[in-house]
Amino acid sequence: MTAPKNKTQQTNQHKGWVKLSHWIVTASFMALAISGFVILMCHPRLYWGEVGNDLTPALIELPVSRNYQHGGWEKSDAFFAVAGSPVSAGRTYEIFNQNGWGRSLHFLAAWVLTLTGIAYVLTGIFSGHIIRNLVPRAREFSRKLVWHDVKSHVLFRIPPATSGPHYGVLQKFTYLFVIFFLLPLTIMTGLTMSPALTAAYPFLPKIFFGAQSARTIHFFASTALVLFLIVHVTMVIRSGFRKQMSAMTFEQQT
């Protein structure tokens, strides 16, 4: 463990376990984003409700692969002799499908991210890191301070790096939103796509408005996480890339 330091240095710098979990989560998130996009390319249609497929209406169709509106279907047959009966048709088109490795990589990375995330949150709660560094203090809620922080972000006036957890009020809210809302939401909606888990825990599809709705929410929550990553990296660059990277990696003293 790190040798005891004076108080200023201790609060100034990122802790070793924060750095380690930061980079494990970064690597697994990159693997999840790439494999997730490959999986989406296989069936770039999103639905609302319990089920959806090529023979039912989509909520959104995304032009992200040659599978987009491919139209390679036999003439459909009705299951029942009534108007508006559900139908069946055979697919005649060779679709793009790389889900063999895509799904396996996605789940492997999801295990790494989830287990690291649980360890991070538990350590963060018991060490006081989350309360001390991420939860805004009462005085930070003042209208003047929040307004000042919003204005400086809008005007792209980013304060220089501090080499440690000294966060602005918007930054704190964003980190809390990512850690306690977006990441748990992607994990829970991801689990809701599993047939074994929905059989064991039938409440899962219910809380997300259906199993296909969970997939749609999973897509939007993941997109929000990618947007967070872009903004986060932009801020790191604007506030001093070398100093920030050094603070999040091997830097020992300020």
């Binding site: 959806g52 459909s76 299951f79 069946s88 490795w101 789940f107 199993a211």
Partner: protein, 247 residues
């Protein structure tokens, strides 16, 4: 200042490794599918172990109402009798042209009474009808009604031996796959000959297909030919697709 931590990083890592090895320990026996030294397959094996260790066994998948039945795409092989396709099987073509009247399912391997079941013989056994959600690995899903014989009943009738651990399926379109006994004896794992109140259509796997409702769609093999019960995992080589897909 004295260090005051509830648990150290070292202790957290040691606890984590201990918990992981507890889950991976059964991997030492030959009861598990091989991972081919492949990191992706190790991830899938870990998912399998985690599901088998942490999930309550044999929970029933949700069953829907007749009005919930949706349109249902047919993908993969849609007719093994089609001579223009690589999955063509001449024997299947002959059965298809006879309306499957002389077709039969062979049940063999580690059973006391191996035998063959005609379609009529299967239909004379106690049937189960279920309206369930089919979840395809591609991302889509559909609700359909399936009628068939519980696989557990066939296995019990055949006298499955106590050492048996896996049930292997061989299909006319060349697909081979297997499931463990927990899924094989799951009440909703059936050999289906009916779909949506009619005979199973050819594009959905006529005359007989498997339904494994707690796994992804590709485990529910169509066009069944043979069922072979085995003590150990029968290695078909790494297909590039996960063997266990409860996820």
């Amino acid at each position: 200042m004295k260090q005051h931590k509830l648990f150290t990083r070292r202790r957290a890592i040691i606890t984590g490794i201990g918990a992981l090895s507890g889950l991976l320990l059964p991997g030492c026996s030959k009861k598990l599918p091989p991972t081919y030294g492949n990191l992706l397959r190790m991830g899938d094996a870990f998912t399998y172990l985690a599901h088998r260790t942490l999930l309550p066994g044999q929970s029933l998948a949700r069953e829907y109402h007749h009005g919930d039945i949706t349109s249902f795409p047919a993908v993969g092989t849609i007719d093994p009798g089609d001579a223009s396709k690589p999955a063509h099987n001449e024997t299947y073509g002959r059965f298809r042209d006879n309306g499957f009247s002389n077709w039969n399912l062979s049940v063999e391997g580690r059973v006391a009474k191996p035998g063959k079941y005609s379609l009529a013989a299967l239909q004379s056994l106690p049937a189960r009808t279920q309206i369930t959600r089919h979840t395809c690995e591609e991302g889509w899903s559909a609700i359909g009604q399936w009628t068939g014989v519980p696989l557990g009943l066939i296995l019990k009738n055949a006298g499955i031996l106590p050492s048996a651990r896996f049930v292997n399926f061989y299909a006319y379109d060349g697909y081979v796959d297997s499931i463990d006994l927990l899924d094989a004896f799951h009440p909703q794992t059936i050999l289906a000959y009916g779909m949506n109140g009619k005979a199973l259509p050819i594009r959905h796997g006529a005359p007989l297909r498997l339904r494994v409702e707690t796994q992804i769609g590709y485990k529910s093999l169509k066009y069944l030919e043979r069922i072979v019960v085995s003590d150990e995992f029968v290695d078909q080589g790494d297909s590039g697709w996960a063997w266990y897909v409860g996820i």
